[in-house]
């Protein structure tokens, strides 16, 4: 602690340079924390099915292709299948195309049994069940459009040729998926042309024993292999991962950008720190002459450099955390980033990276400055 004053004074000896370095670190780590959080958000989306005892039966051709309703009974016959729920992606929007969010038609009779991790007030669920044009929405979606239970809303058509006229009957709670809307499969089926009716793009199966999910999936696919509509059965995690993969390798892209940003900031910080160390060669020599050991001088300089990058990084990371608490990201990204925040793990990773930037960028200049002999250091001026 007795050296803290020396460190603090040296930190701001060139106030403009220190502030510019802080600003640089803050802006880069604001950006890095944002990108890492987006990747983490997608990872959470992928992981939402992890541990759940559900498999999804979809068309082997593509997710856009449908499977006939008649498969439902066949699937129920498969040993180990506890329940089956039809789920259809609708892809409609609210009022304007910008107001996009996930919306599905669901088999209400089997919804609670298969999706038992979605919590709905029993009275609200009963009201939803009894209203063919009723729907339930996630908490975040409710907040996003300032809806309330009882509101009548219209979902505009995209894939299917009808506008869904719905009444919000309830709100569901879920640890990850909080921004979707579910309405009656029957209402959907009645609203589409006869040629499209009685088809659905996914069956969600609840499996009694999660360890049997793989053999059951294989059995199902084998069962429909030579049919008109072959299937591909996947676990929920695989399904979400496949869904994410449709957007391309976001993780690799964002990871590469983050690495480039951190590399860039290391170079910039190294230049700044080299300047700072070079300016102080004589002072370092004086410190060593009066008895400061090389290791102590090195520690003082590295503490100073890492403090600068860590504080800058922290400003960026906590600034991002605060910004995303205030900014309506779901609305701004048209539903792309729902539930977006700077996650605690992202904060830790970013702060560790900013510390590392200080150590790498400051290490070499500090080593060089302290390695110089006292005599050579003093000769610079004397």
């Amino acid at each position: 602690m007795k050296y803290f004053k020396l460190i603090r004074r040296n930190l701001f000896r060139n106030r403009m340079r220190a502030l510019m370095t802080l600003a640089l670190m803050a802006s880069i780590f604001f950006f890095v924390a944002t990108l890492i959080s987006i990747v983490e958000l997608f990872g959470r989306f992928e992981d939402q099915g992890q541990g759940a005892n559900r498999v999804i039966v979809q068309s082997a051709i593509s997710l856009a292709n449908s499977l006939p309703y008649s498969y439902e009974e066949k699937l129920r016959q498969v040993p180990g299948v506890e329940d089956v729920c039809k789920l259809q992606w609708i892809g409609a929007y609210y009022k304007e195309k910008n107001n996009f969010f996930a919306n599905f038609a669901v088999d209400v009779d089997h919804m609670q049994s298969v999706f038992d991790d979605y919590k709905i007030d029993p009275k609200e669920f009963e009201a939803f069940k009894n209203d063919r044009q009723g729907c339930v929405v996630g908490t975040e979606l409710l907040d996003r459009f300032k809806w309330k239970v009882g509101d009548r809303i219209t979902l505009k058509r995209t894939i299917f040729p009808y506008d869904a006229e719905l009444t919000i009957r309830g709100v569901y709670r879920h640890p990850v998926n909080t921004s979707a809307l579910y309405y009656h499969m029957d209402y959907h089926n009645e609203s589409i042309p006869p040629r499209m009716q009685n088809n659905v793009n996914t069956f969600w199966l609840k499996i009694k024993d999660p360890s049997k999910m793989a053999p059951i999936s294989q059995q199902i696919d084998a069962m429909f292999k030579n049919s008109e509509y072959p299937t591909e059965t996947v676990t929920e995690k695989q399904f979400q991962a496949g869904f994410m993969a449709m957007m391309g390798n976001i993780k690799l892209l964002f990871g590469s950008i983050c690495t480039c940003a951190v590399f860039m900031v290391i170079l910039l910080a190294a230049i700044t720190m080299s300047m700072s160390a070079r300016e102080r060669v004589t002072e370092i020599a004086v410190l060593k002459a009066i008895g400061f050991e090389r290791r102590l001088v090195m520690t003082l300089m590295l503490t100073e450099f890492t403090l600068l990058t860590l504080v800058g990084g922290a400003i960026g990371v906590f600034g991002a955390k605060l910004a995303y608490l205030i900014l309506p990201m779901a609305k701004m990204t048209q539903g792309f980033l729902v539930g977006f925040t700077i996650f605690p793990t992202t904060m830790l990773i970013s702060l560790a990276a900013s510390l590392l930037v200080g150590l790498i960028a400051g290490g070499w200049p500090a080593l060089n400055a302290t390695r110089m002999s006292v005599v050579d250091g003093l000769r610079r001026v004397v």
């Binding site: 020396l6 040296n10 002459a289 008895g291 050991e293 090389r294 290791r295 005599v375 003093l378 004397v382």
Partner: protein
């Protein structure tokens, strides 16, 4: 008894592929309480000799014994620790840390000791009082004159109560008045506080304050005089 014993010391610097001999077998003693001035033309080796006595450089050959200890074989760490206890440095350009005020600059060597904050403050106040700058404790180097800066540097040199003060051209950057004041101060430290001082200077007037003047030329001692002879060096 000799506080510093230099025995047949040579120093050769390597500059690229060249070897530059700076000291060519110097033998000299510095008695405890002495005030020695090292004089000579540029390149004569006086600063190199001062650096060797101060333990910030090592001889190519020969022995340097200070207070009974052969310091030329100390490790870098041991030498740093030894310097912090035995040597006080006074530089031509003062070399104060610009971001620290006078008292903080003087306190620097004390940070290496086990003294607590209160004890360190007492030592700093005493040192600054001795150099006559007790009223400038909170002033930064940029707020002080050259003479005042050098006095702060002297306070920093004496604050740990070292046995030897080494001064490299301590008046080289000062006007006549401040140079005289600085030399008076050094003389007082030698006479009143019994500090052993080794000073490098070009200035015969400065050397006149020393008890003994040693002339170097081409890395060799050409003469060393005490008392009156020193006064007329």
């Amino acid at each position: 008894m000799a506080l510093v014993e230099i025995k047949d010391v040579t120093k050769v610097y390597k500059r690229d592929s060249f070897q530059v001999p700076v000291l060519n077998g110097i033998t000299i003693d510095v008695a405890e309480g002495d005030f020695l001035a090292l004089m000579g033309p540029s390149g004569s080796g006086k600063t190199t000799l001062l650096n060797l006595i101060a333990g910030i450089d090592r001889p190519t050959s020969g022995q340097i014994v200070v207070d009974g200890k052969e310091i030329s074989h100390f490790s870098e760490t041991a030498l740093a620790s030894w310097r912090s206890r035995h040597i006080g440095f006074i530089f031509q350009m003062y070399n104060l840390i610009p971001v620290l005020n006078a008292s903080e600059n003087v306190e620097l060597p004390l940070l290496l000791t086990k003294l607590n904050k209160r004890e360190r403050r007492e030592h700093v106040e005493t040192a600054l009082r001795i150099v006559g700058l007790a009223d400038r404790m909170k002033h930064y180097p940029r707020q002080l004159s050259g003479g005042q800066e050098q006095r702060v540097a002297i306070a920093r040199a004496i604050v740990t109560d070292p046995s030897i003060l080494v001064a490299d051209e301590p008046t080289g950057d000062l006007d006549a008045k401040n140079a005289a004041d600085t030399l008076d101060l050094l003389q007082r430290l030698n006479e009143e506080f019994k500090k052993t001082i080794v000073m490098v200077t070009h200035d015969p007037k400065a050397a006149g304050h020393a008890r003994r003047v040693v002339h170097l030329e081409k890395g060799l001692i050409i003469d060393g005089a005490y008392g009156e002879a020193a006064a007329h060096a």
